[in-house]
C-alpha cells in the first residue's frame, strides 16, 4: 500500500488502508463481519484483505450483529485485537446488550479489557431510508467504558482507525457513508495515527464557533464560507471523537468567540449538542454572549422519501441562517 505517496485517496480507501496496514503490523488484528471476506465488504472496504491475510484473519460471519460483537469480545479476551464490521451501523443496536453490558463493562467488572473496534457505515443523505441511514452514536456516547469516533476526512479516518486498533479500550468507529466516495484527501505514506479524544479547528474565526463532526463538518465549512462573504467569521471545530469529548478545544474556542452553534446529523433530542450546551454552562457561562444554538436532524426516523429526507437533514442553508441569527443575537 505504498502507492499513496501524498496522493489523494477517498475516505473509503483510507479505511481500507488503515485495516490493511494494521493487520500487516500486528498479527493479532483480525476482521470479522458480514461479507467482509469473499465479497470484500458491502462497500468494498475490505476488498483484497481475504486474499492477503486468509480465512483465519478475515472472517465472514452469519447475519447476526449480536454474534459478531459477542465473538469479537471473546476474541479480545483471548488476546486478539478484532475489528468487527457492522454492515450497516443501524443494526448495531441488535448487539446493544453485548456492547453495553459486556464489551463496555468488562474492564470495570472483571478486569477484562476488550481491545476491539466496532466499525461500520452510518449516516444519511444517500436516500437509504430509516434502516440504512442511522446515526446511533449517542447511545454509546452515553455508555461509560467505550470510545466513540466519528471522523470527517480520509486523513483522520485512517489515522483514527489505526489508533483505535491500537487502543486497549473498545472503540466504536462510525464511517459516514456519504463521505466514502465523495471526500478525498491526502494521507502520508508513512505510518501515522491521529490521537483519539482530540478535536481540531478546521477553520479559524472570531464571531462564533460552529462545532460539528462527520458529514456535517463539511456542511458547516460550506456555511462558514458563505458567512464569511457577509463578514461573519465562523470558527469551525471538527470533534472527530465524541467520547471522550475534547472539552479543552471547545472551551478555548468559545471563550474566544463567545457564541456557539452545534451542527449534527443526529436527531436533536439527546444529541451531542445538548451535552456541549451543558459543558458550556458549567465551565464557560461567563463567556457566553448568546444562547447555544443547534442545527440538527428532526426528531423523527430518517424518511424514505428523498424530499422528506432533504427536509429532515441539516444543510448549509440552515446552518448559515442559524449562524447568522446567532452572530446578530
Amino acid at each position: 500500500m505504498a502507492e499513496t505517496n501524498g496522493t489523494q485517496i477517498t475516505f473509503l480507501e483510507a479505511i481500507k488502508q488503515a485495516m490493511f496496514e494494521e493487520m500487516e503490523r500486528d498479527p493479532a488484528v483480525v476482521l470479522l463481519g458480514e461479507d467482509v471476506g469473499v465479497y470484500g465488504g458491502a462497500f468494498k472496504t475490505s476488498e483484497g484483505l481475504l486474499e492477503r491475510f486468509g480465512w483465519e484473519r478475515v472472517i465472514d460471519t452469519p447475519i447476526s450483529e449480536s454474534a459478531i460483537i459477542g465473538a469479537a469480545c471473546g476474541m479480545s479476551y483471548a488476546g486478539l485485537r478484532p475489528i468487527a464490521e457492522l454492515q450497516f451501523i443501524d443494526f448495531i443496536v441488535c448487539a446493544f446488550n453485548q456492547i453495553t453490558n459486556f464489551v463496555a463493562k468488562g474492564h470495570y467488572l472483571w478486569n477484562a479489557p476488550a481491545p476491539m473496534v466496532m466499525r461500520g457505515p452510518s449516516g444519511g443523505g444517500v436516500h437509504g431510508g430509516p434502516f440504512h441511514s442511522a446515526n446511533p452514536e449517542m447511545y454509546f456516547v452515553h455508555t461509560p467504558g467505550l470510545k466513540v469516533i466519528y471522523p470527517s476526512t480520509p486523513y483522520d479516518a485512517k489515522g483514527l482507525l489505526k489508533a483505535a486498533v491500537r487502543d486497549n479500550n473498545p472503540v466504536l468507529f462510525f464511517e459516514h457513508k456519504f463521505l466514502y466516495r465523495r471526500i478525498k484527501g491526502e494521507v502520508p505514506s508513512e505510518d501515522y495515527t491521529v490521537p483519539i479524544g482530540k478535536a481540531i479547528v478546521r477553520r479559524e474565526g472570531k464571531h462564533l464557533t460552529i462545532i460539528s463532526y462527520a458529514a456535517m463538518m463539511h456542511t458547516s465549512l460550506e456555511a462558514a464560507d458563505a458567512l464569511a462573504k457577509e463578514g461573519i467569521e465562523a470558527e469551525v471545530i471538527d470533534l472527530r471523537t465524541l467520547l471522550p469529548l475534547d472539552e479543552e478545544t471547545i472551551l478555548q474556542s468559545v471563550r474566544k468567540t463567545n457564541r456557539c452553534l452545534v451542527v449534527h446529523e443526529d436527531t436533536k433530542t439527546g444529541g451531542i449538542a445538548g451535552e456541549i450546551a451543558a459543558i458550556l454552562c458549567e465551565k464557560a457561562f461567563g463567556d457566553l454572549d448568546g444562547p447555544l444554538m443547534r442545527v440538527t436532524a428532526l426528531d423523527t426516523p430518517v424518511p424514505y422519501s428523498p424530499p422528506l429526507e432533504d427536509y429532515f437533514l441539516p444543510n448549509a442553508k440552515k446552518v448559515f441562517d442559524t449562524a447568522k441569527e446567532l452572530a446578530r443575537y
Binding site: G231, I232, F285, G286, D287, D289, R328, Y329
Partner: protein
C-alpha cells in the same frame, strides 16, 4: 401598603409597551395621579399617572425596556398615606380599560355596532410578570457582557444595545471599553450622546467595508434591507437608532402597504368660496371662540358628507367581511418634531365647524405635548392628512389601517382657471384619495371625491 404599578394596556391590540422615561426616582414621593413614567406603544406616547400616593419604592423596568402589558414595572410604598390609597388599585390605564375589554371581533359577521358584549373583567389579575420574576436581570445582556462590565467597572444602564431586541452585546461593551470605558458617573449624558456617536461601525475611511454585520443586529425582523448591510456603511457617518415611534410608524406603513392594494385618485377643488368665508370670519371666530379657524374643519365636514354618501369608504376589512362603521371618526395626521401621530375626531358627523375646530386644536396641542390618551388615537374610520401645509402640491398618502381610505390635501394657492370661457383667479387645491382596492372601486372613490369637492365648492354652512 405596597402597590404594584403595571404596564397598562393602551388599546385593544396592544400587548407590550416601552418605558421611555421615568419621571420619578426610587425614594421620591408621588401623589396619586401624578405622572410617574412615560411609555411608548404601537399607538401612542403617553404619561402614565401613579395609581396611588406614596413613595416610589422600586423601579423594576428600566427606561428603554419593552415589557408585556400587566408586567409590574414599579412598586409604590403607600405606608405614609395608607388611608388615601384604595386597596385594590385599578390598573392605571383607566382610559384604556373599555377599549381593552372589547374582545377581538369574531370573524363571523357582526350585526351592527360591535357592542363590547362579553367584556372581559378589566381588572384581571396581572398575568405573567416576567420582569418582576427576574428582577435581577433587568438589562438584556449576556453572562459575558455582565462579566466584562464588572471587570471594567461599567454601568450597563449607560450602554445602548444593538443586539436582537436591544440586547447589549459583546460588541457594544467592547466599543465602550475601546472608547475608554463609560464612567458610571454621568449616565444621562452618556446615554444621550451615545446613539449619535456610537463607535461600533467605525467611520473607516479606507475602502475596506468594515463589516458591522455582527455588531448592529437588526432589531426588527420586519425591516429588510435591499442591499447587504455592509454596503450602507461608507465614508463618514453617524448611526442613530430609530425612536420607538419611528419604528412603530415604519411597521405600520410597511404593514399597510403589504395588506392593502393602494389606488390613488386626484381631484381639484375650487376653495375660493371657503377661503373667502374663512378670511371674512376668522377674526370674529377667534375673538368669539378663542380658537383659530383653519381650513381643516371644512375638509372634515366635506369628508363626512362623502362618507355618508358612500359608506364603503367608512369601513374596515376583516378577512372577507367588510365592517361598515356607523360612526364617522376621522383621524387627522399631526406632524410632530419626533414623528407623526393620527389623533381621531370622534363623531365628526355630529359636530359643526366650531366643534371640529376645537377638537382638532385640542388634539393637536396634546399630541405635541404627549398628553394624548390612548383612545384618542384609536377607532378612526377614515383619515385626512395635509401634505399641503408643507407646500406639497399633492401627496399620495399611505392608508392608516384599519381604514380603507385616506384623503390627502394639497396646498391651497391661487391659480388661473377657466370659468365660462374666461380666465379667473381662484383658490385651488388638489386633493388625493388613497383607497384600498379590495373594498373600494374607482367608481365609488371618484364619486366620493366628487362629493367632497361639491361640498366644499358649494359651502353653505355658517361658521360663526
Amino acid at each position: 401598603m405596597a402597590t404594584d404599578v403595571v404596564m397598562p394596556q393602551m388599546g385593544e391590540s396592544i400587548f407590550e409597551g416601552t418605558i421611555t422615561k421615568w419621571l420619578k426616582k426610587p425614594g421620591d414621593k408621588v401623589e396619586r395621579d401624578e405622572p410617574l413614567f412615560e411609555i411608548s406603544t404601537d399607538k401612542v406616547d403617553a404619561e402614565i399617572p401613579s395609581p396611588s400616593a406614596g413613595v416610589l419604592k422600586e423601579i423594576k423596568v428600566n427606561e428603554g425596556q419593552t415589557v408585556p402589558i400587566q408586567t409590574v414595572v414599579a412598586v409604590i410604598d403607600g405606608a405614609g398615606s395608607a388611608a388615601a390609597a384604595p386597596a385594590p388599585t385599578p390598573a392605571p390605564a383607566k382610559p384604556a380599560a373599555p377599549g381593552a375589554a372589547v374582545p377581538a371581533p369574531p370573524p363571523a359577521a357582526r350585526p351592527t355596532a360591535p357592542a363590547p358584549a362579553a367584556a372581559a373583567p378589566t381588572q384581571a389579575a396581572p398575568q405573567a410578570t416576567p420582569a418582576a420574576q427576574r428582577s435581577g436581570e433587568r438589562i438584556h445582556s449576556s453572562p459575558l457582557v455582565r462579566r466584562m462590565a464588572a471587570e471594567h467597572g461599567i454601568d450597563l444602564t449607560t450602554i445602548p444595545g444593538t443586539g436582537a431586541g436591544g440586547r447589549i452585546s459583546k460588541q457594544d461593551i467592547e466599543a465602550v471599553i475601546a472608547a475608554g470605558g463609560a464612567p458610571a458617573a454621568a449616565p444621562p449624558s452618556v446615554t444621550a450622546a451615545a446613539p449619535a456617536t456610537r463607535p461600533t461601525p467605525p467611520p473607516a475611511p479606507s475602502a475596506a467595508p468594515a463589516p458591522p454585520a455582527v455588531s448592529g443586529g437588526q432589531v426588527h425582523v420586519a425591516f429588510e434591507s435591499a442591499v447587504p448591510r455592509e454596503k450602507m456603511y461608507f465614508g463618514n457617518y453617524t448611526v442613530e437608532p430609530m425612536s420607538n415611534m419611528r419604528v412603530r410608524i415604519a411597521e405600520h406603513m410597511l404593514a399597510s402597504k403589504r395588506v392593502s392594494p393602494h389606488v390613488y385618485s386626484v381631484d381639484e377643488i375650487d376653495m375660493t368660496k371657503v377661503a373667502t368665508l374663512r378670511a371674512k370670519s376668522r377674526d370674529e371666530f377667534e375673538k368669539r371662540y378663542e380658537t383659530k379657524l383653519t381650513f381643516m374643519p371644512f375638509f372634515v365636514k366635506a369628508a363626512v358628507a362623502g362618507l355618508r354618501a358612500f359608506p364603503t369608504m367608512n369601513a374596515s376589512l376583516d378577512g372577507t367581511n367588510v365592517i361598515l362603521h356607523k360612526e364617522i371618526n376621522i383621524g387627522i395626521a399631526v406632524a410632530l418634531d419626533w414623528g407623526l401621530i393620527v389623533p381621531v375626531v370622534k363623531g365628526a358627523d355630529e359636530k359643526n365647524v366650531l366643534g371640529i375646530q376645537r377638537t382638532l386644536n385640542d388634539l393637536a396641542e396634546r399630541a405635541r405635548s404627549k398628553k394624548l390618551k390612548p383612545e384618542e388615537v384609536q377607532e378612526g374610520t377614515f383619515s385626512i392628512t395635509n401634505p399641503g401645509v408643507f407646500g406639497g402640491l399633492f401627496g399620495l398618502p399611505v392608508i392608516s389601517q384599519p381604514n380603507v381610505g385616506i384623503l390627502g390635501l394639497g396646498m391651497i394657492e391661487k391659480r388661473p382657471v377657466v370659468i365660462n370661457d374666461s380666465i379667473a383667479i381662484r383658490s385651488m387645491c388638489y386633493v388625493t384619495l388613497s383607497y384600498d382596492h379590495r373594498v373600494v372601486d374607482g367608481a365609488v372613490a371618484h364619486q366620493f371625491l366628487h362629493k367632497v369637492k361639491e361640498t366644499l365648492e358649494n359651502w353653505s354652512e355658517p361658521v360663526l
